[in-house]
Symmetry: D3
Subunit: 142 residues, 6 copies
Amino acid sequence: MYANFPATVPLIEEAHASERVKLVFQDIKATKGIDFIPAFWRVLANQPDLLESTWLQLKRVMHPEAMGRTSQLDARTREIIAVAVSATNGCAYCVNSHSAALKKLGVDIATLSEIMSIVALFNSTNALAEGFQIEPDVRPNF
Amino acid sequence: MYANFPATVPLIEEAHASERVKLVFQDIKATKGIDFIPAFWRVLANQPDLLESTWLQLKRVMHPEAMGRTSQLDARTREIIAVAVSATNGCAYCVNSHSAALKKLGVDIATLSEIMSIVALFNSTNALAEGFQIEPDVRPNF
Amino acid sequence: MYANFPATVPLIEEAHASERVKLVFQDIKATKGIDFIPAFWRVLANQPDLLESTWLQLKRVMHPEAMGRTSQLDARTREIIAVAVSATNGCAYCVNSHSAALKKLGVDIATLSEIMSIVALFNSTNALAEGFQIEPDVRPNF
Amino acid sequence: MYANFPATVPLIEEAHASERVKLVFQDIKATKGIDFIPAFWRVLANQPDLLESTWLQLKRVMHPEAMGRTSQLDARTREIIAVAVSATNGCAYCVNSHSAALKKLGVDIATLSEIMSIVALFNSTNALAEGFQIEPDVRPNF
Amino acid sequence: MYANFPATVPLIEEAHASERVKLVFQDIKATKGIDFIPAFWRVLANQPDLLESTWLQLKRVMHPEAMGRTSQLDARTREIIAVAVSATNGCAYCVNSHSAALKKLGVDIATLSEIMSIVALFNSTNALAEGFQIEPDVRPNF
Amino acid sequence: MYANFPATVPLIEEAHASERVKLVFQDIKATKGIDFIPAFWRVLANQPDLLESTWLQLKRVMHPEAMGRTSQLDARTREIIAVAVSATNGCAYCVNSHSAALKKLGVDIATLSEIMSIVALFNSTNALAEGFQIEPDVRPNF
């Protein structure tokens, strides 16, 4: 743990949380197989409604098997998308937490480096396409 | 094809390109298995140096097998990262071309929708983490 | 105060500032009802011209009443826009200072959380609209 | 209507939609008081699950009264946040639809211009704070 | 001219503008040496106050000589910064107008391509630095 | 040096690096005229391939003279573009390192402030152009 400063709102302690919040916290730990509540969820817990709806949404998208849903992507690919978006947005909290999740899924430095080299490449070609105002070739025909 | 407007610089025609540019164009078509030169490369071809170095970089990252390199990720995962970055940046040309590449790799609407729902989710949680200034829990220990 | 590091340029101390800078500093404190000069303005004060023009612009937009201008929005709504933009851009300094301004205007955690849930939602739907390349329905007819 | 091109996936027609999709479409029209289905929802309808969960989330956040929830913000303020985020991200579809929503709520050109001048100002000061690497003054004490 | 659609607000015609707006329009044409009013200023002209303050700010920063100010940068470098920011943000209107300004200043395709290759490179390295969460080496000591 | 935390991957020490990495490190120090290896390159050195290709690309673009290439831009202008992109993206590591590079090239606070005022201005006008959905006037005719 290396956080020196609180967020702009308090981090709710599990021990002092309402029953409603505790239930979500327990589901987070059980579903993710972790033994602490990440600061992200402790911050949202200030508004149980926001905590619940955000967790439900993340659980649906990132833990489909826990909700009886089928997925076309495996857990590693889903976390790769998460870290690619977070690196592109430059969100420190998010890059850290999704890199940690990848590590837990067995991703090594070589793979993380390959992911980042792809993220870097497309941030570069995106800028070229915008910088030269290149019009799309074709719409894909899904 | 639906482009109505040129880019801010001319699109180089393969037929009128220099030998150096033609070689890159042929490598692009052969490596990607396509029969036309996307506008992106025709724009870069105004500067053969930029065309060559960008193509080499993209070929290294996205077509490692064509360069005798090993990769920890398959072609579909690499294109998923590309489209996730492009959607996050809102680059129309790039979203179109990488969606088309995914389609060609056999990705269907259900899978594309799942990719986009993950991209959307993390653009949302990134904003929450930044909006509440949440400090990272731990650094992953790669 | 928790800043450990200076900005990339010195923070001008009010006590050692030129008369021209002091006048702006006093106007900032009087207009905003604060008793210290935020680091943002102390940094800009390295170039009195930049300090003056940025302050004038912010005063015009955010404190219209102090310039005899009418506004269609109240002070709270203006700060809400400020924090929404800052969270979307992921600007730490800005999120902190506009969250503090909202707190001073009486905004509580429930309201801040609601603001952030809206910011998060639209960062998410923006990514979906870009990721599927959805064309606008209609132009609003203002 | 001025869209010339489809999105990267088909737009589902209400007349040909499944019962599950039709129910969401009807709720969208009833809740928003509109008589057509915006392209955004017709695109998501390719995956009824994504349509339902996104609509539920937007309904919860943007139409709290329709879900028996209380809100600290009025409908106009919520749409102002939506357009501020969308303009900052440069999402054309989103800027159009939220500008149209503001127009419907009675917002005139003067107010829209004031909103945009605030959005512009903070995109500018965000860049200054990042460009000079200014450290936060204080954390707000919510 | 290739615009097919209006902006979300009307474009004010010079012939029908108020005297106050006409004065700004004339200053824009004289200062920039152009014979038409770009859509950007015609849009802002809906709010003469916003038009005036934005133009004054742009004139101060981009045409310092016209305001008796000295500048450390020449006009070409200033427009290069403008196009670099606009390409990074993916703002089509802005990329077009600043590319046109560079063309007018004598910049050729080779130079524009070099600018874009630098913009692309740093969008790429920015993503790497964020993706690996690299801590700064040192603060520059200005 | 003020970094308290490692990146998400180890920083490779020059003393313990492979011969291949050492060669790149020596080229970086020689080409840039610095006597330490910035954290950015020490991170990439976990994957010698990524280190080499990124350095080659940066050397090509930012040190053209070292590769026998001609450039239309001088070193100061190239670093100005780098810092403008980095400030727009809000990349702390990048803003720090490119500000330091500008300082080394003789740029003073007045010039850095002028650069930042241009970056800020165009982040502001970009938001206005997107917020009002302004259509381009003309394509520049390169």
